[in-house]
């Protein structure tokens, strides 16, 4: 589904360019859940931004093939229409745009791109009702402006709700667990578990192992300084939980010697 080969990227800042990704290799197949862990500043969120086409990130080398297409050639909205979804670390508030209007527009744009008819209002309302239950979203929240006045937990649940509505093939969860208490974490994880299937895949970016107790990954990758420095099964997350990122410090020291 997704093949990342030797991906290098920089960000453009007012103080000049800064190389963040320094050669990422990763393959994700349908039905898989990949966790990407690592200390702050290792490039996890940059990877999510590059995969979804955020402005300000420049790919300097490498390629990303998604469903046989060169992903990096596509605009952010085209990537979304091809089935890529990003659950934001910091969901954006959009005053004046209701959740209902926002999602209806999104779904119908995606349908239009596939040459399909717009979703009927009845069908849409039914889907909304059903998916809202998945992540304990009150119907009242749906008529409110997107994320405006939502608590941190509500915003994250709203991200997963949008994910449920748009039914993407590849979902990237960027630190969805940050700022969540354990109950909210369980709700969010429960939603993801219900949505996963043999046809879709998830990349779960997280700093902590905690979320992975509830969303059990097939693969765990550790990122450091713009590269994946270790990959393993779900037991790698547990090892990190126990020993922290000590081994990375060791790597650092080795590099310095």
């Amino acid at each position: 589904m997704l093949t990342i080969k030797n991906l290098k990227a920089k960000i453009e800042t007012s103080e000049g360019d800064k190389q963040i990704l320094k050669g990422i290799n990763l393959t994700v197949n349908p039905g898989e859940i990949h966790a990407i862990m690592g200390p702050n500043g290792s490039g996890k969120s940059t990877l999510a931004s590059v995969l979804t086409g955020r402005e300000g990130y420049v790919v300097t080398e490498g390629e990303v093939i998604y469903d046989g297409k060169d992903l990096l050639e596509l605009d952010p909205e085209e990537r979304a229409r091809e089935g890529i979804f990003l659950a934001f670390q910091y969901p954006i508030e959009i005053p004046g745009v209701s959740n209902v209007n926002f999602l209806k527009t999104a779904i119908n744009e995606i349908r239009k791109s596939k040459g399909e008819e717009p979703m009927s209002s009845v069908e849409f309302l039914k889907a909304m009702k059903e998916k809202a239950k998945l992540v304990n979203i009150e119907p009242e929240m749906l008529s409110r402006y997107v994320n405006v006045g939502f608590s941190g937990g509500e915003k994250k649940r709203n991200e997963i709700f949008q994910l449920a509505m748009l039914e993407p093939k590849l979902s990237i969860l960027d630190e969805t667990d940050s700022g969540l208490d354990i109950d909210a974490l369980k709700i969010v994880a429960g939603g993801v578990n219900k949505l996963k299937s043999k046809d879709n895949a998830f990349i779960v970016i997280t700093h902590y192992q905690r979320l992975l107790n509830y969303i059990v990954p097939d693969f765990v990758h550790v990122m450091f300084d713009g590269k994946i420095v270790r990959s393993g099964g779900k037991e790698l997350a547990l090892e990190l939980e126990e020993n922290g990122y000590d081994f990375i410090n060791a790597l650092k020291e080795n590099a310095e010697v």
Partner: protein, 450 residues
């Protein structure tokens, strides 16, 4: 002073033509009009002759240049039988099929055949001013030209010299009219360039309530120039909702003054929307002449191409315990220019005034311009006043968030822009009219985002 004023004027062919035109206009009216009205016209014309058209040297006209208007060969009394316009021509401008009082003016001339008034009775008069000044002579004489100051404003003077022709609305004490009044002004330049000067008088007496929509359109390939004045009297404890929508084409010029006089406990709300027209200048002034009055000014300008729209407003607090709130928003694309000048005047006696003002702008291109100037003049010491102005681009984080859900660039922009102006659109309280406005906005946004 005289010299100073002279320096600020410029003689144009149009000025000369207007002076000639006035003489023939007056000779035609002789005997027909009452003496006092004739005197008013003569006085007003001499003010115009002295002041001339406003020029950019004047502080109030710093950003708006009327000289492009002067170059056209306008006709003042175009031969319009009215049969030229059929019901089919009018239909596309009408927002409600039945429940509305419709007044139609073509080049400022009342078209009685296409107009339809359903609410008139012993308490309500809705019609042309020439009819109204006969039927309600006392009311007309009491209010006409008592609010719009022509002595210091040359364009109001010009309008006063050639008027009155326009809409007259009169609600007697304690009359609540829920059926809105739709005043349709069409500039028809099919045969030649036209100069029209609508003059409206709205008198809403104590305890009465009204909804009025003034709608401006233009048709034809030549140029049109509209110089309108509306006088609005809001009696004690009355409630008025007033909308002015400018839908003219890019060969149209529009200058206008809406002068509101508010008595004690009255509530007035105006929404001015400008998306059509080449050069537009609106003056909206409300004088609070009683305690506990409330006034709302909402505005929206949605500009593309080389459009130029200038909104000047004045909330004149003369009495204590009054409230005014102003919200103007602009979306400016291409090479278009917006001007906002909002003045809050709090006079010495106007203690406990609450006056707020805000102007927000989104610029969609590097060549788009906004001049925003809030002005507070406060002579009382116990008041709450605030103002703020912002201008910027669309928020990139919001844009990315929306696009990341599969919504394309134009639709994402459109979604954010509609959200940006939604509080202004929501100020329109005639539901059918609001739907009509939303449809027009959709079209204008498509045009801006093309």
């Amino acid at each position: 002073m005289e010299n100073n004023l002279k320096e600020n004027t410029f003689e144009t062919d149009l000025t000369k033509k207007l002076i000639n035109e006035f003489q023939s206009y007056q000779s035609k009216l002789n005997g027909d009009a009452s003496g006092s009205l004739n005197q008013l016209r003569t006085d007003a014309m001499s003010v115009f002759e002295k002041l001339g058209f406003p020029v950019k040297k004047m502080e109030e006209w710093k950003y708006t240049n009327l000289s492009p208007v002067m170059n056209h060969d306008f006709k003042f009394s175009p031969d319009l039988s009215g049969s030229d316009f059929t019901q089919a021509d009018i239909d596309k401008y009408i927002f409600s099929a039945g429940n509305v009082n419709l007044l139609i003016f073509i080049n400022g001339i009342f078209n009685s055949e296409l107009s339809s008034v359903i609410s008139n009775n012993e308490n309500i008069f809705i019609g042309s001013i020439s009819e109204g000044m006969k039927n309600h002579k006392q009311i007309f004489e009491k209010h006409y030209s008592k609010y719009a100051d022509y002595r210091n404003r040359s364009l109001a003077a010009l309008n006063t010299a050639f008027s009155p022709e326009g809409a007259f609305i009169y609600l007697k004490k304690n009359t609540e009219l829920s059926t809105p009044v739709h005043i349709l002004n069409i500039s028809d330049s099919k045969k030649n360039s036209v100069f029209s000067q609508p003059r409206n008088l709205f008198v809403i007496e104590e305890g009465s309530k009204i909804y009025i929509a003034e709608d401006y359109y233009s048709v034809g390939d030549n140029f049109s120039f509209t110089n309108m004045v509306t006088e609005f009297y809001c009696g004690k404890n009355s409630h008025a909702e007033h909308y002015k929508i400018q839908n003219e084409d890019d060969k149209s010029f529009h200058v206008g003054m809406t002068q509101v006089h508010q008595e004690q406990d009255s509530h007035f709300s105006n929404t001015t929307i400008s998306w059509g027209g080449s050069i537009i200048r609106n003056d909206l002034n409300s004088v609070f002449d009683g305690t506990n009055t409330e006034s709302h000014f909402f505005g929206l300008y949605l500009l593309s191409g080389k459009q130029h729209v200038d909104n000047h407003t004045l909330a004149d607090h003369k009495m204590p315990n009054c409230y005014s709130n102003e919200l103007y928003k602009g979306i400016i694309g291409d090479n278009a220019t917006g001007v906002f000048n909002g003045k809050i005047m709090v006079r010495e006696d106007a203690q406990k005034t609450n006056a707020y003002q805000s102007n927000g702008n989104i610029l969609l291109s590097d060549d788009a311009t906004i001049y925003s100037k809030p002005q507070l003049e406060i002579f009382a010491d116990d008041v709450k006043c605030s103002h703020g102005a912002t201008s910027g681009q669309l928020n990139e984080d919001e844009m990315f968030y929306i696009k990341s859900r599969g919504i394309g660039d134009k639709d994402a922009k459109s979604l954010l822009l509609k959200a940006f102006v939604s509080d202004v659109i929501d100020s329109i309280k005639i539901e059918e009219f609001k739907i009509n406005i939303e449809e027009k906005m959709e079209m204008k946004l498509k045009n801006i985002l093309k």
